[in-house]
Every structure is written in C-alpha cells, then in structure tokens.
C-alpha cells in the first residue's frame, strides 16, 4: 500500500505503452488503469499532431488508444486547464484525468478557486518540467544550431542540461545554456519557472532520481495525495504497473537537480526583472511595448486567470471599441485583475502577435505582489483578494447601485446624483 509522501520507481508491464513511453510509462499505465477501473471517464493528454513538434490535446476514453499518447513532447507549450473550462464544462459533468506540467497544475488551482473548474472531478498526474520550446523556433534551432533537417529528427529530449536530438544517422546534444545564449531554447517564462516538480498534482512523475539499473527504464513517482496513492495501488494490483521504493541516493540526486533548477530559475528572474528596471522606468517600458497591441484578445482567451463573462476590456467606458492600438487602460485592466494570480504559464506572450512580452510584465508584478501580500498562486485553494467576489454576483451588485463602474461606487464622486 502506498501513501502520500512515497517516492517510487514505477514502470509499466504493458508492452505497447512501454514501446512509446518516455521512461517507465508509468503515467500512461496509470491512465490505462484509471480508465479501465472507471476512476475517470476520460483523460486529457498531449499527443503528436502532424509531427513531433506539433503537440495536440487529445481526449481519450478508450484505454486501447492510450499507447499513442505516451512520450514527452518538449515543444508542447500548451495549457490544458483553460480548455477544460472552455470546452469540457470545467469537468463539472465528468471525471477527468489530465497529465499536467507545473503551469497546468497551477492554472487548475487558479481556475478551481474561481469556481471555473471542479477539481473534485479532476485527477492530475504531474510531470516534472524543465521547460518547453516553441515548435517553429525549435525547428529553426535544429536547422541552424544542429545542422540537421528537423524532419529527420525522431526524438528530442532535455537531459542533464542538454537539448538532445536523435535523428537518422546519429544524435547530438547542445547545452541549453548555450542555446539560450544565442536566442534559442526554452520559452522565456519557462526559464523563470520554479514549478519544477508539480506536487499540487496527485502524483508527480519524472526522470530525475532514477539511477542504477532502472535508469531510463522507470519513472520516478512522488505520491502527492491520497487520490494519487489509491491510483498507484489500483494500477499495481491490476498488473499494468510495477513499483519499488526509490534508492536513497536517487532521491538525493533528484533533490539536488531540483535545487539547481530552482537556482537557475532565480538567475533568470533576476536577469529578466532587472532588465525591466524599476518604478517609472519599468512603467515606461511596459507602456512602450504595449503600445503596439493590436487587440487580438489572444492574451485574454488563453489566460487561465481570465474568466469573466463580461470582460472589462470590452466596457466602452474604459476601452474604445475598434481602436487599435487600444489605450493603455486595456493593459491596466489586465494587470489589475490578474497580476496577483499570474502563474507565469507564458500563454499571453507566446500567442501575442505584437511580440509584447506580456508574461514577463505580469510575472514581474506577481512577484512583487507576492512579497506584499504573501499570496502564492497556483499551489493551494487560498483566494487572492480579486477572487473573493464572484464575477456575476459582483457585477449584479454593482449594477443595482445604478452604475457598474467601480470607481463611482467606491468613491462616490460628488457630481453624480
């Protein structure tokens, strides 16, 4: 019997899964068991689309289809929780298993505390995450830095600080540091990310710490909740998964690697935030960059913190419809509503057609707000100030005062009768 806190090596006994899996195939084997035992109605995972650079969310209900979804796609920069909210009714009406990276796990919590997702119906298997690379950039990197045709590559991985590709006729690794110095490598939010082992999921799986004869053949599994423990026990009992306790030396190595990654995250934070300057310098920079905005609404569509039905950026009193670029208020509204809870998932930056480093701006503010208010986003169900009121209820309340303008309601300007 396993329990919360256990550190295990796990591997699958299913031949199909083993063939496709990244390591021990534990994640996929656990999903197989979850589906077969009806612990979940469906699992939402990432699988290969047109090629290995094309990560595609896939909803699987039939356990036999799972093997195709095993393996890690390091160009998978997607964020799944917002899809669960938008298209799967926030898991309100079905039990859902989801493989999550750190940013996914954090986004799940933020959406759940705003009542947009029912976490009781979600099982999360986390994967450790060293970072992801945008697909088109990855292809250019492989062409230019590796001198290899990206279509010849059949496997890519990040291991021991290197981005490694296997291709027809060989393999080649280049250190992530070197790649990032020349403008390639992980997304900028990933460089700053410090959610390396997503312990707020039910299980956290990875390769760090798998040493000895199991190296490369087993998945390191940290059991993070009772739900997770139950899932592991069930899978073992059904025969699809085998586990053994991790080697103490392995655990120690895992801790060291995690520590090193967190340090690296701090280094990048310092680097990125210092470059932004402080106070009015920072504000100026933000205003200058955001002045290119074309109001595509992608940053809003993709952000896991944005959920309002009546988005304030669409209030013509604040932002004139049709005006491009919109006035700075458009961005101020986002800052005001989101900054305390930004999970640095990078979506608003990766998807910005105007090349505005939105995630950097928001993350830099989140870090400051965390210092002031001690609110840590994405790790618990604790509410930040902005999430205390429910959108509909609060808008209705404001509306009943005769105005939905917060300024007028709070400050009651004199000339208003």
């Amino acid at each position: 019997m396993s329990k919360k806190g256990d550190m295990l090596y796990a591997w699958t006994n299913d031949a199909d899964i083993k063939k496709k899996a990244e390591l021990g195939g534990a994640v996929t084997a656990l999903w197989k068991y979850a589906l077969e035992s009806k612990a979940v109605d469906a699992v939402l995972v990432i699988s290969k689309g047109k090629d290995l650079y094309d990560a595609k969310p896939t909803l699987v209900k039939n356990a036999a289809e799972l093997a195709n979804t095993a393996g890690s796609l390091h160009c998978g920069t997607l964020l799944l929780p917002k899809l669960v909210k938008k298209y799967l009714e926030g898991a309100e009406n079905m039990k859902l298993g989801v493989t999550v990276k750190g940013c996914d796990a954090m986004a799940f919590y933020e959406l759940a505390k705003r009542k947009q997702i029912n976490l009781d119906n979600v099982v999360m298997i986390g994967v450790n995450c060293g970072g992801s690379v945008s697909p088109v950039l990855a292809r250019r990197m492989i062409t230019e830095k590796y001198g290899v045709d990206p279509d010849m590559v059949h496997k890519e991985e990040i291991d021991k600080g290197q981005f490694i590709i296997e291709f027809e006729g060989g393999h080649k690794g280049i250190s992530v540091d070197e790649l990032e110095e020349s403008g390639y490598g992980r997304r900028s939010n990933c460089r700053r990310c410090k959610m390396k082992i997503p312990r707020q999921a039910d299980l956290a799986c990875g390769n760090w710490g798998v040493i000895g004869e199991k190296a490369g053949k087993a998945t390191f599994v940290e059991v993070c909740s009772d739900k997770g423990a139950k899932l592991v026990d069930g899978a073992v009992k059904s025969g699809v998964l085998s586990v053994e306790p991790s080697i103490p030396k392995g655990l120690e190595i895992r801790g060291k690697v995690e520590g090193a990654m967190l340090k690296l995250g701090d280094k990048w934070r310092k680097h990125d935030f210092e470059a932004l300057g402080e106070g009015t310098d920072r504000l100026k920079k933000i205003m200058e960059e955001t002045s290119r905005c074309i109001k595509c609404y992608s940053c809003i569509s993709a952000c896991p913190i944005c959920y309002c039905v009546d988005c304030t950026t669409k209030n013509p009193n604040y932002v004139t419809p049709g005006e491009v670029p919109p006035n700075f208020m458009f961005h101020l509204i986002r800052f005001a509503h989101i900054a305390d809870s930004c999970v640095n998932c990078g979506q608003c930056q990766e998807l910005c057609p105007s090349e505005i480093p939105n995630a950097l701006f928001m993350h830099s503010q989140q870090v400051e707000l965390e210092k002031m208010f001690n609110h840590v986003p994405g790790v618990s169900m604790e509410l930040p100030l902005m999430a205390y009121a429910e959108e509909r209820v609060e808008r209705d309340r404001l509306h009943n005062t005769g105005s939905d303008m917060i300024y007028e309601n709070v400050f009651k300007p004199l000339n208003k009768h």
Partner: protein, 618 residues
C-alpha cells in the same frame, strides 16, 4: 463525447494563418492556437481568434432559395439547378458574367472557371480581385515575371529597412505586420507613408503623412533621390535589369521639392526616406490594398530593382492580399482573357443590357457601391452562391447555400504563394454544400457530366496541378506538412520562399523597369475640400461575427481634430459626406491620427474628394 482539434487556415485575410478548430460533438466550439504553423506560429489577430463565430451563425443560409414574386421560397437542390439551367440556357454565352471568389478554395474557383468556359461558354470570368489588387498582380508579372509577392511573410523579419506604402499591415494583415515588428526589433528602420497615423505608422521610425492618391509621386521621388545621390545598385541594374533609362527619365521630375508639394510633406522627408531605404540591405517594400491601380506596384518594383532588393530574403515587393484566397483564385485562372470582361466591365455591360445573367460565387459585389447595387437589381437573372444573405444575395433570383471553410476540404493560397489545406471538421450547415460540389452538380444538371465528375476536392486539385504550371508536382500528401508548399514547387522541399534568386521569370530573364508617371487624380477643390483615404471594409464574414461587429459596429467617417473643430463636429456627430457621385451620412470619429484636410471613408464610397456637413442628429 467527441472532442478534437482540426488544423485549418484562417478564412479572413491573405496572410493565411494556421488555426486549430476545436470540435466537440460535431460542432465547431472555438479556435485554438496552432503553434506549429510556420506562418503565424499560433498567433492570430481578432479575426482569426473569432473565426468560428460565423460558422455557427443563425443567419447562415441552409437551403437553396428561389425568388417568387419578390420573395425567397425554400427549394430543393434539383429545383434550383433546374431553374438555373433553364434560365442560363436561354441566354447566349457572352451575355453571361461569372464572378469567382477570393475567399473560397482553389478547387471551387477552378471548377467555376471551367463552368464558365465550357458549360455556359463565356469569356466573362473574373474574381473580386479588382478590389483585391488584380491590376497590381499584373504589374508584378510585367516587372518580374510572376504575379505574386516576391518574398515570404516570414522573411520580412530579416529586412534591415522597410517601406510600407498603401498598406497598414498591423491592422489589415496583422500577422504579416508582426514581421515588421520583428524586423524593427532586430534593428530595421521602418518607413510608413500614410495620411493616417495608423497602427503601423505608430511603430515607424519615419512616418510620412502623404496625401491619399499621391503615393506614386512619393515612391518616384524616393527613386529620384537615390539616383541623384548615386546610391543606385549599378551592378544589379547592369546585370539583372532592363529599361533603367526609361525609369530614370520618368522619375527625374520628382524632385524632393516637387514631391513635397504633391504629397503634402517636407522635401527633407523625401531625401530622408531615400537615405534610410538605401542605408542597409536587404530592404523590403510592403504594399496592399492601396496598390489598386497597378501604377504604384510598378513604382515599387522600380525602387526594388534600383536598389538590388529582389531575390534575397528580407527584400522584395511584398503585396499583401486582402482575402484569404485572392492569390489562388487568380492562380487557377479566374481572370478574363482579352475577350472577356472584368467585374467592373461586367457591371457596365449589364447596365447597358449586354450582360443578361450573372453567376456570383462567394462575393458581395453590391457592396462596391450604389451604382453596382442598382445594376444588380436590373440584371435579367442573378444566381448567388453564398453562406449569408448579403446585399448581393438579397437581389438574386436563385441562392445556392455554400458550406463554410470548417465544413469542407480544399486548399487556399496565401499572399506568399503558400498553398495550405483547409480541412473538413464538421458537417455542412443544413443542406449547404462545398462550393465545388455545387458548381459540379449544376454543370451535371446542364449536361456536362463528364468534365465535372469529381468526387473529392483532392481529385480537382490533382487536375489543377496539370493545368497550372506553378502548382505542378504538388499533391495533398505534400500539403500535409505544416509548411505545405510555396509555389513554384520545384524550388525546394517546401517550394520557393524567395522568387528570382537566380533570375527573373520574364521572357528575357531580366527585371523590367517601367516609366511610371504620377497622374494626379481628382484633386480637392473649393467645393470638395477633403481628400479621401479608404478604410478597410467589413466583409461578409466580419459582419456575421459578433465579436468583430462589437468592435466595428458601423462605418464611420474619420476626421482630424483640427477639421472637426472648424466644422463643429465631435465624435458621434452625424455628418453628411458628399462627393461628385453622391452622398452618404455617417457618424464621425474625431482623431489626431489623421492628417488635416484628409478624411477616411469606407472603401465603398467611390470619391477622391468630398465635402462634409454636420447634420441634425437622427
């Protein structure tokens, strides 16, 4: 529950961004980024972001309609075909006009072209492209050999200098505009010539508020200044071009002083633009809807040839197209031969009673203005194939309902000659059908079974590749890769990113300079004191997309703050705009982002000079 992503291409502009259609239980529920597409890397503008909305619109036409006593009645496909067949057979071929579409797929346009030529036997085939730069495309063919953007959207980011003229990519083709932003981040100098301080002008290093309609004079002036400074690329001119002397003579009168006067800018600005454009290599020229006449594109081509800016990444003359398949409709041949009419000529002929029937696929030509709408009211027989009850469709005798891009397979060709797959994600709304299918079924109903026996869009594409040389060798299988193929296919694994790397595709292999003279258009006068800058119009798709209508609920007349103050106009005022050909009353938007003396009006208001009067509020 069925849930899946289906990669497709944004149906709006000629940038051709990749998107993922999110399909749940047989319905398109939204769009999600498709990061793997090389054109846009998952990013989209508001139109792409909301491109699923019109698919599910309750306004979709879902059944064939036949007009009886001035009212539309639902009909079966068979009845609709029978009605059309009998009416079209009653008129002679050259009395029929066929209008193809810049927003339907290549396959649709190809069978439509064959329908015109072989079933109703008319030479009168054209596509909306008169407004979407058909003349500019011809200009490019004459100058360089191929009628398309010389370079790729991606390689604009490699430019070291960029001249944007007759175009506002940040708002009109935003994901091409993104490449301008990227170039600038890499140190490129950006020059924007526009009477409006457009979103693109706002990021420029040098913004020149040239008067509308004087763009040719400006480009000639830049060319003249370059020649005067001896900065022309003599080696390139000698080895790769013809007729330089003609161009040199033609631009000679465009001295900085002369240009300053015509364009309403300073003489220094002209020399400064010439300096910036020649200071670094490669330099790119971007133009689009503003290049209507063909003259501007030749002037731009001259400038590119003069500075050796053709055949390398980051250079070229880059004509951004308005609609998703403006390039493809032309590639597959939906343009009139010498004995056929263009769309404007068809309208004229119809007005004169010489065209008696029109078959229009996926275009709302009535939006071109009241004169066109009036002619459509009178034409003997009008067939319109569309998704929505457009102004044009409302005038039809028979309406054939088209499937949307999400409901069918096909290919579209973006501005940079990239032929991309549109993939069927859901079943067509109601009884609607893919445009190619409708055309083929109608052809069969008119007795042309053999040549229209296609059972899939792929079969039609295979046929296209046999008849369109640039498409030779391309298959649906090759288009499976997200890179797809940029024609001509022979250029490499994914086709040709940059045209003319070795030589031009003209007969003599040389880039052809042309003598392009600036011809003054209708000038402002005491009676009509304001020059008009055309606004990007709302198309059929936008008008049926609530999120876009919310941003642009109605056409506006945009007036400078200075002029508005003189006339007592404020934002929201009702303003009567009159030109020689008529008048219209619009709400005003007052802004500092337009030059005094210039107003911006919807493209459909055909006048170059107008007067403004504040009217009583309605």
């Amino acid at each position: 529950m069925d849930f899946k992503y289906v990669p497709s291409i944004c149906p709006y502009c000629g940038t051709g961004c990749g998107i993922n259609l999110v399909v749940k239980d047989g319905q398109v529920k939204g769009i999600s980024p498709w990061q793997r597409n090389p054109v846009n890397e998952g990013k989209v503008c508001i139109r792409g972001n909301k491109s699923f909305e019109f698919v599910n619109s309750a306004e979709r036409i879902t059944t064939p309609l036949i007009k009886k006593d001035g009212k539309f009645a639902e009909a079966s496909w068979e009845d609709a075909y029978r009605e059309i067949a009998s009416k079209l057979k009653a008129v002679k071929g050259d009395e029929i006009g066929c209008v193809a579409s810049a927003r339907t797929c290549n396959e649709d346009n190809y069978v439509f072209k064959n329908f015109a030529a072989n079933v109703v036997k008319t030479a009168n085939i054209d596509y909306c492209g008169r407004r979407c730069n058909a003349d500019a495309v011809r200009g490019l063919t004459e100058a360089f050999g191929q009628g398309a953007m010389t370079n790729s959207i991606t390689d604009i980011s490699a430019a070291k200098a960029i001249l944007v003229i007759g175009s506002n990519p940040l708002e009109e083709n935003p994901l091409a505009g993104r490449r301008v932003i990227m170039a600038r981040k890499n140190g490129a100098k950006v020059i924007v010539a526009d009477a409006r301080t457009s979103a693109t002008a706002k990021i420029a290093d040098l913004h020149l508020a040239v008067n509308p309609g004087t763009e040719v004079a400006f480009v000639n002036g830049v060319a003249a200044a370059i020649i005067k400074a001896g900065k022309e690329n003599k080696d390139f001119i000698a080895k790769k071009t013809a007729n330089f002397e003609k161009c040199k003579a033609a631009v000679a009168p465009c001295t900085p002083d002369a240009v300053a006067k015509i364009c309403g800018i300073s003489a220094e600005a002209v020399t400064k633009a010439a300096e910036l454009f020649t200071a670094a290599h490669p330099a790119s020229i971007i133009t689009s809807a503003g290049a209507v006449s063909g003259d501007l594109i030749r002037a731009c081509a001259n400038l590119a040839l003069l500075t050796g800016n053709v055949g390398v990444a980051g250079a070229g003359v880059n004509l951004l197209r308005g609609k998703s398949n403006a390039q493809g409709a032309m590639d597959v041949g939906c343009v009139p031969a010498d004995n056929g009419h263009t769309v404007p000529a068809m309208i004229e002929a119809a007005a004169a009673g010489k065209i008696k029937a029109l078959y229009i696929m996926g275009e709302n030509i009535a939006s071109a203005g009241s004169h066109v709408a009036a002619v459509l009211d009178k034409v003997g027989f009008l067939v319109v194939q569309d998704m929505f009850m457009t102004e044009t469709a409302a005038k039809a005798h028979v309406i054939l309902p088209s499937a949307s891009f999400a409901e069918r397979d096909g290919t579209v060709t973006n501005s940079e000659r990239r032929i991309q797959r549109v993939t069927k994600a859901v079943e067509p709304a109601g009884k609607s059908k893919a445009d190619w299918q409708i055309v083929c079924d109608l052809a069969k109903a008119m007795g042309a079974e053999k040549d229209f026996a296609f059972t899939s869009s792929e079969e039609i594409f295979a046929e296209i590749t046999k008849h369109v040389p640039a498409y030779a060798g391309i298959t649906y299988t090759k288009l499976e890769a997200p890179e797809a193929v940029q024609w001509p296919a022979a250029g490499g694994k994914f086709g040709t990113a940059v045209l003319y790397a070795d030589k031009f595709a003209t007969k003599d292999g040389k880039g052809a300079f042309a003598a392009v003279e600036y011809k003054a258009g209708e000038a402002v006068s005491a009676e009509y004191p304001f020059a008009v800058a055309a606004q990007w119009p709302m198309g059929t798709l936008s008008m049926n997309t609530p999120s876009i209508v919310r941003e642009f609920p109605e056409a506006k007349v945009i007036i400078s703050k200075a002029d508005a103050e003189n006339l007592g106009i404020i934002t929201g005022s009702s303003v009567k705009v009159s030109g020689k050909s008529g008048s219209v009353t619009l709400a005003a938007t007052v802004t500092t982002a337009i030059k005094a003396g210039v107003v911006s009006l919807p493209l459909t208001f055909a006048a170059a000079a107008v007067k403004l009067e504040k009217t009583e509020e309605a």
